[in-house]
Subunit: 198 residues, 2 copies
DNA sequence: TAGGAAATCTAGCGTTGCTAGGAACATGAA
DNA sequence: TTCATGTTCCTAGCAACGCTAGATTTCCTA
């Protein structure tokens, strides 16, 4: 076997992996779009397979099952959310970082309800403790960056978690129509006032 | 037809309605227990029917479908939550009402995770706006009673919603293991400090 | 006790997530 | 170019799901 042949073999394998990776993102994107269009219950393995023009077993060669696809969408969403945080914080004027990030959080939730649902109520295979994926730690780090400076003498991690929870509560309850729409614009200022008051 | 006969007929009908009501609570309780034991996905109509020792169509003579059963469990849970609020507020020492109710909320969520899930992420048939069921308004009224006095010059309704959202966020994120367990006891004091500080 | 209404069950439809087994394909050697 | 090989993919089908039509049994009234 010549060395030229082995190079060809490797290149072939790499191309296959590339194609597989492409198809994998194709699946994830399709699932996300379908969920955002008609809700997660209508994202069935059959419809997903038809959409990407492959048979069902192909999906199972990429993911362990339907749940794993949802998890993949959630992970993608978390990465996007982190980017949104970064941009909001960068664009904020000094002292307004919390407001910018909080508003970004709420905007993200209302703009991508299905994605939000995947991240916070559907994803079940994502580890969240010490061995959480990197994107997840990055997302929390963004929140930490804006909340920790306001912690004062309290534990900055706990303080960040409380801040996150408060915003998240607004987003979650608001998404399900459990908060009065006419008070929408009053809620965030109140929350920010509580957190930024000296 | 004698008047005595019509009385018997009415009594019979009332007995039937009573029995129907009994069976309905039997269904709801069974669903709740099964959900709390093995999670909501394992609460299938078939297993539920087997559990109450009736055939499946009987369930559909009581509820429009599986979703309506979940809604009924959620409604029962909201009523219980309201009672928990009432007791917590009554037992609290002056000035500690918010702390008592907030702690009760978190305890309720961790003690009845499936019920909590039914109320906040599964129930879809429950109206939440102006024409919400009475128990739901009562639950919010309890929260209003403890938060509104702290609103100051802010809208008391919006302030209550923010308070609710903050506690709810802690409960929701905590339930899914998204918050650090070792900071559990630090979070609520921080939150209460934010809301009760003058 | 007979007749009719009400309650209940049997059986089955369409859809779901998932998988076993075989067909079709690309690949590398002769 | 041709053939064996290994990979990729699809067809077909299983068990379980929510739900419902129609037969059957049970109960009440007269």
């Amino acid at each position: 076997m010549s060395s030229g042949a082995s190079i060809v073999i490797m290149a072939t394998q790499q191309r296959r992996e590339r194609e597989r990776a492409q198809r994998e993102t194709l699946i994830v994107n399709a699932a996300r779009e379908m969920a955002e269009a008609d809700g997660w219950p209508s994202v069935t393995v059959r419809k997903l397979a038809e959409r990407i023009e492959y048979s069902q077993p192909v999906l199972y060669s990429h993911f362990a099952g339907r749940g794993a696809i949802v998890d993949a969408v959630a992970l993608q969403g978390i990465a996007e959310l982190t980017e949104v945080f970064k941009k909001a914080r960068a664009a904020a004027e000094p002292g307004g970082e919390v407001a910018a990030v909080a508003q970004a959080y709420l905007d993200f939730a209302s703009a991508n309800p299905a994605l939000f649902e995947a991240i916070f109520t559907l994803a079940e295979g994502l580890p969240f403790g010490a061995d959480a994926p990197e994107v997840l730690k990055a997302a929390f780090a963004e929140l930490y960056a804006v909340f920790a400076p306001l912690a004062g003498d309290r534990d900055p991690d706990a303080f960040t978690e409380v801040g996150w929870a408060a915003i998240h509560g607004l987003a979650a309850l608001g998404r399900d129509g459990r908060l009065r729409p006419d008070l929408l614009e009053k809620r965030l200022p109140i929350l920010l006032d509580l957190f930024t008051r000296p």
